[in-house]
Amino acid sequence: MYAEPRPFWPPLISGIALGLTLLLTFVITGHGLGGSGFFARAVAAIGGWLAPAATAANAYYGPFVEAGKPLLSWITWEVVGVMIGAFAGSVTARRARVRVERSDGVSSGSRLAYALAGGLLVGMGARLARGCTSGLGLSGGATLAVAGFVFLIGFFVAGFVFSMQFKRAWQ
């Protein structure tokens, strides 16, 4: 018998805790939390190892490698922290397990194909927008930046539209 997982926090409690975390981050660093910036730096670093000439010549990633060691950045330590925090939290609450999370009507193979396709769109979108749900939506929103709300409107509208089109992925 497995012990039951501990329940999630109520949304209001999670929201207050997340808001205080974000406020603390602003007070310590002068900027908010992020996510996608790490992936951009990882692409610059991987490109720099695998194809140094092409990466250096790239108009977008060239400046990252030119500045040297693209992964030596605050966002990398933050992402490592996210992994530690999420791992510790899920293990202690019995919510960690190796598996493919999917809905009843979707095979693991299809679920992974959808995940890859979604990730590709999100990677392109985050570079185009100069940030993601964390950096622009959450952190930008908290500074009341117009940028954050332009992003959030696009995110929620497209989320609803594509969710209707891809019902099959989650039914």
Partner: protein
């Protein structure tokens, strides 16, 4: 010591990240089914948690500024690039609805053992690389419709900050109320127990059902 401290070192990153990851996981945001249930209107956790967090931090920053603890322009405020940010938001909303995560939540999903989250992260790397490849032709779009530097909603509407905050708090309260009604009508938000449950082996009836649907679509 002046505030913000502007410490972007290793300890600062680890501390912010550990809290961020712990809270996201506790909210249930490592689960793609829970995250995407927002857009099926059966679980309003994404809206509730994000809106609450934005407002707690925004009110906190407002208090710190009004009491003179921090100065007006002391925290990073992004500048608007209307088309790039609007369309980027659309791509991320689409990718989230299809793949089940955004960048931060995919890291949380992976750290709690989800293989689909690792695949999603590989997709983000691929998509980011593709953007670099397409960057030069996209530059027009990337810089189009640039707004004033670090423009905020109070700047845009020409009203005091507290009025914007009060309006957002009212909007959040309305969203919570509507969300509670819709959640109740659609079986309630996904619990940790439901999220941890593996789907039953796909029964043959489901396969037939799906095949029939596919045929109907073809």
């Amino acid at each position: 010591m002046s505030i913000p401290v502007y410490d972007s070192g290793i300890a600062s990153g680890l501390l912010a990240g550990i809290l961020f990851g712990y809270v996201l996981e506790a909210a249930g945001f490592g689960s793609p089914r829970k995250l995407t249930a927002q857009f099926r209107l059966s679980d309003f956790s994404v809206f509730k948690v994000m809106f609450t967090a934005v407002l707690v931090a925004a009110v906190g920053l407002w208090i710190l500024r009004s009491t003179g603890v921090i100065t007006q322009a002391s925290v990073y405020t992004p500048t608007t690039f209307f088309w790039a940010m609007g369309l980027g938001g659309v791509l991320i909303g689409a990718g989230f609805a299809i793949g089940g995560y955004c960048p931060g939540t995919s890291i949380v999903g992976a750290a709690s053992g989800r293989i689909d989250a690792f695949v999603f992260m590989a997709g983000i790397l691929g998509g980011s690389a593709l953007f670099g490849w397409a960057y030069e032709p996209l530059q027009g779009l990337y810089f189009a419709a640039q707004g004033p530097k670090a423009e905020t909603l109070p700047d845009l509407f020409g009203v005091p900050e507290w009025i914007v905050l009060a309006a957002l708090i009212a909007a959040a309260a309305a969203g919570f109320a509507v969300g509670n009604i819709l959640e109740k009508a659609r079986g309630g938000p996904l619990s940790a127990k439901e999220v941890m449950r593996d789907p039953e082996e796909i029964a043959s009836s489901t396969i037939h059902h799906t095949a029939k649907e596919l045929n109907a679509h073809a």
